[in-house]
């Protein structure tokens, strides 16, 4: 019961938001003459045979892996109040360079994969680093610069693809880089299904799943159990309080963006290493923007992001079946968009309710707060060991003192 009481407040807003979003998007669909229940039925229909069902699951998980990494990349920056909207450009550029390098060298298996991963991580981190450097040295808003760098990255990627890294013959309808040799391809982990006693589907489950889980755990530990993570969250909640306690704000911006970019570099790799083995004109796009949605939905915590990624993966899986059955497949995007809006509104409402009940001094469980959570935080210290991320904006800093941009609940640990 205690666990439920603790988790309830954290779970309630997202669940509520998903329900509200489903209702709203159903209403939109109904208003435009599409039967929402038929659409949902298609979404939930995984097929009849066990193999079909596990295939559907593999499709969902395979889609969720890059979404999870994208959400993680966004969330790392979010935690410190930075909006890394440039994830899209970071991973596209990183993936094409990694694909080019991977195709150009021949190394023994694991080393080859490692090289590709490192190249992708370094390229994306450097690209994100430009944003950070512009912010700390020239005061350019990271939102604008990362959006502009998105366009530049996509332009460079298309130049690389049609120019130096082109591997497909002239006149081919889909331009691609040269294929990465066998040693640089990551095998699937379908053995998992045999172990679990499920039907082994024809489609390969990406081996990158393991990497994603490891990265997720590493980020969780880094954010919640280390000095760096503490500084990062403190800077996000109250820059003035953080700098007063000796955190170098500029260095934190650069480190955080480098970390965020490094994670972003991994986004394209599940598909690259596990499926396409080359970067093509129709390589998975838009993951960076979906990552923002996933991060918001998952409330910037690795576990939440994992669930959010699975939800989005589930929604995306239904794209093809919807198209086959002649429904407008963009309802998926509508549902995703409304979920995001609903979840940020729900978070905000939950946070306000929590604050109000905290002000009244009654830590009502319905209010969505952990007992002892002072919304207005009179001298409440931020404790990195606390499993529930610290509430309150630090030491007696009022809600708005953090200059608004630091004030979303989207990243904070409250409510």
């Amino acid at each position: 019961v205690n666990l439920l009481r603790r988790l309830g407040p954290a779970l309630l807003p997202p669940v509520l938001a998903v329900v509200v979003a489903l209702v709203i998007s159903s209403a939109v669909m109904a208003a435009l003459g599409v039967n929402p229940f038929d659409v949902f039925a298609v979404m939930l229909d995984f097929g009849d045979t066990p193999a079909q069902q596990t295939t559907a699951m593999v499709v969902i998980v395979n889609r969720a892996i890059p979404l999870f990494l994208a959400g993680l990349a966004v969330a790392v920056a979010f935690r410190m109040g930075l909006f890394n909207i440039g994830v899209e450009g970071q991973y596209r550029l990183a993936t094409i360079v990694a694909a080019g390098v991977g195709a150009a060298v021949a190394l023994p298996g694991p080393l080859h994969i490692l090289l590709i991963v490192i190249v992708a991580v370094v390229v994306a981190a450097l690209w994100a680093g430009i944003v950070a450097v512009l912010k700390v040295t020239r005061g350019v808003s990271e939102v604008i610069s990362s959006i502009m760098l998105n366009f530049i990255a996509l332009g460079i990627a298309s130049f690389l693809l049609t120019g130096p890294l082109r591997g497909s013959p002239e006149g081919a309808s889909i331009i691609s880089t040269r294929e990465i040799p066998e040693s640089g391809q990551m095998p699937g982990i379908n053995a998992l299904f045999d172990v679990l006693g499920l039907a082994n589907p024809p489609r390969q489950l990406y081996g990158f799943l393991v990497v994603a889980i490891v990265v997720g755990i590493a980020i969780a530990v880094l954010l919640n159990r280390t000095r760096f993570g503490f500084d990062l969250k403190a800077s996000g909640m109250s820059p003035s309080a953080a700098s007063a306690s000796g955190v170098n704000a500029r260095a934190m911006v650069i480190k955080t963006m480098l970390l965020s970019g490094a994670v972003a570099g991994l986004i394209g790799l599940p598909d690259l290493l596990g499926n396409t083995h080359s970067y093509t004109t129709d390589f998975t796009a838009g993951l960076g923007f979906l990552g923002i949605a996933v991060a918001l939905l998952g409330r910037n915590r690795p576990l939440g992001i994992a669930f959010a990624a699975l939800l989005f993966g589930f929604l995306d899986r239904s794209l093809v079946p919807l198209q086959i059955q002649d429904y407008p497949s963009s309802v998926v995007t509508i549902v995703q968009g409304t979920i995001v809006l609903a979840v940020v509104v729900a978070n905000e409402i939950a946070r306000r309710v929590a604050r109000r009940s905290a002000e009244r001094g009654t830590a009502a469980p319905v209010g969505g707060i952990v007992p002892g959570d002072g919304g207005t935080g009179v001298g409440q210290s931020v404790d990195p060991e606390e499993p529930n991320p610290p509430a309150g904006t630090g030491v007696g800093v009022s809600r708005t003192a953090g200059a608004g941009q630091t004030d979303t609940d989207g990243r904070g640990g409250r409510a």
């Binding site: 599409v34 909006f83 604008i144 610069s145 366009f151 049609t162 509508i334 004030d407 609940d409």
Partner: protein, 426 residues
């Protein structure tokens, strides 16, 4: 900084470029800067032989492309002056393009304008609802609106255009059924076409000026002129009326405004809805350019508009200058890939001036950096003949980034911009 501007005889661009960028300069200084810019442009044009740099066709394309960016920036101005950060400009613009396409193919260009404005305003209303009523973080809401707008436009297109006998499909509408009227300035740009004659002479400075003027006066749509006039109109509305003062007070100090009886929340709603309507109108102009709604037509122009707003220091004149610059960069990359190379020479000259100026101020690091980049740009100009399409496509975005990184330190945003305001919490 005043020391660098005193002598009017010196080349004005050597003075603080940031003055122009912050929009705070006096009109004479501005005139000098414009003239200096023209001289540099003509010189670059003559040296590189790229007629496209100042040709009338480039200029009229620049005007066409600058208008949507300027309108988006103007939308941002209303919203941010009232204290609501609007990252969702691009989404509202997308809604505007869809609305314009939908109304335009059925009832012509007049309806297209109304449709686009209405759809944009709808996006603005959503943003206002999320940020003002529910107190959601402004950037988060804006990002969500961008995602939502893309999905909504796709969804509506699938619904209305797939089996439409008028044409269109999943990603585009049927063509707009009529074009907005356009006109050319008599004698100068049409008929005898005196400016056209001058432009064809290829004279230093004079032909460039003629080309620019002709580009801005021949074959201009009436609605474009109205759109350009919206900028001074917004200035008058925001800085010369009681309504404007109240609106701006919500962006500077909402608590104080509230205590003086300004209906802060209502003002914010009005501002954000106007913001959406203006960005939607920007979308309408994109539809007019193509004569059709296409998916991804905005191509991030809402974001460029936002950058123009920041570049223009949250002021109408500045944002117009920013929009003009980005429109020009966009037009140039569409018109001529070789002309973009000539821009490198321009960058080299400007950065050399920056390096010189920083050197005077004894900032060795900045001076060396600027000089190094200037040198690289010069080498690029001398060695590259034509840039590949992938690289050229992001000219406006790179320009934005360069300009912002050179300019953005002296900018001052509205004081309460981005803060969630709720009564009684201050």
């Amino acid at each position: 900084m005043s020391s660098a501007v005193q002598a009017p005889g010196t080349r004005p661009s050597r003075g603080p470029i940031t003055d122009l960028l912050t929009g705070g300069g006096r009109s004479r200084r501005l005139l000098w800067l414009l003239l200096g810019g023209l001289v540099i442009f003509s010189a670059v044009r003559v040296i590189s032989g790229e007629e496209a740099l100042t040709s009338s066709s480039t200029m009229s394309a620049a005007l066409l492309l600058a208008v949507p960016i300027g309108l988006a920036a103007l939308g941002g101005l209303f919203s941010e002056r009232a204290g609501v950060v609007n990252i969702g400009l691009d989404g509202m613009m997308i809604l505007g393009t869809w609305g314009a396409g939908f109304a335009g193919y059925q009832w012509g260009w007049g309806a297209a304008i109304i449709g686009g404005v209405l759809f944009g305003a709808l996006g603005g209303l959503l943003h206002a609802l999320a940020t003002v009523t529910f107190g959601v973080d402004h950037v988060v809401s804006g990002v969500a609106i961008n995602i939502l707008a893309m999905g909504a436009a796709r969804f509506l297109s699938e619904l209305f255009y797939t089996d439409n006998e008028a044409g269109g499909g999943v990603t585009q509408s049927p063509p707009v059924s009529s074009d907005p009227p356009s006109f050319s300035l008599p004698v100068l740009s049409s008929g005898p076409d005196l400016l056209g004659d001058l432009e064809r002479q290829g004279w230093f400075l004079i032909s460039d000026l003629a080309g620019i003027l002709r580009g801005l006066t021949s074959g201009v749509a009436v609605v474009t002129i109205v759109a350009v006039l919206l900028i001074p109109a917004s200035y008058l509305l925001l800085w010369r009326t009681a309504f404007g003062l109240r609106l701006r007070s919500c962006g500077e100090n909402p608590a104080a405004a509230d205590s003086l009886g300004v209906p802060v929340l209502r003002m914010k709603y009005i501002a954000v809805i106007i913001s959406g309507a203006l960005s939607g109108l920007g979308g309408v102009f994109l539809v007019f350019i193509a004569g059709i709604y296409r998916e991804n037509q905005t191509n991030g122009r809402g974001f460029i508009g936002l950058a123009a707003l920041i570049f223009g220091n949250w002021r109408p004149g500045g944002l117009a200058a920013g929009a003009g610059l980005f429109g020009f960069a966009d037009a140039l990359q569409l018109r001529s890939r070789t002309a973009v190379v000539a821009l490198l020479l321009l960058v080299a000259v400007l950065l050399a001036a920056v390096a010189f100026w920083q050197g005077l101020r004894r900032k060795a690091l900045q001076a060396v950096l600027a000089a190094a980049v200037a040198g690289a740009a010069l080498v690029g100009f001398l060695t590259i003949d034509e840039l590949p399409p992938g690289i050229v496509s992001f000219t406006p975005h790179l320009t934005t980034l360069l300009v912002l990184s050179l300019a953005s330190q002296r900018l001052r945003m509205p004081k309460a911009d981005g803060l969630v305001y709720r009564r009684g919490e201050h």
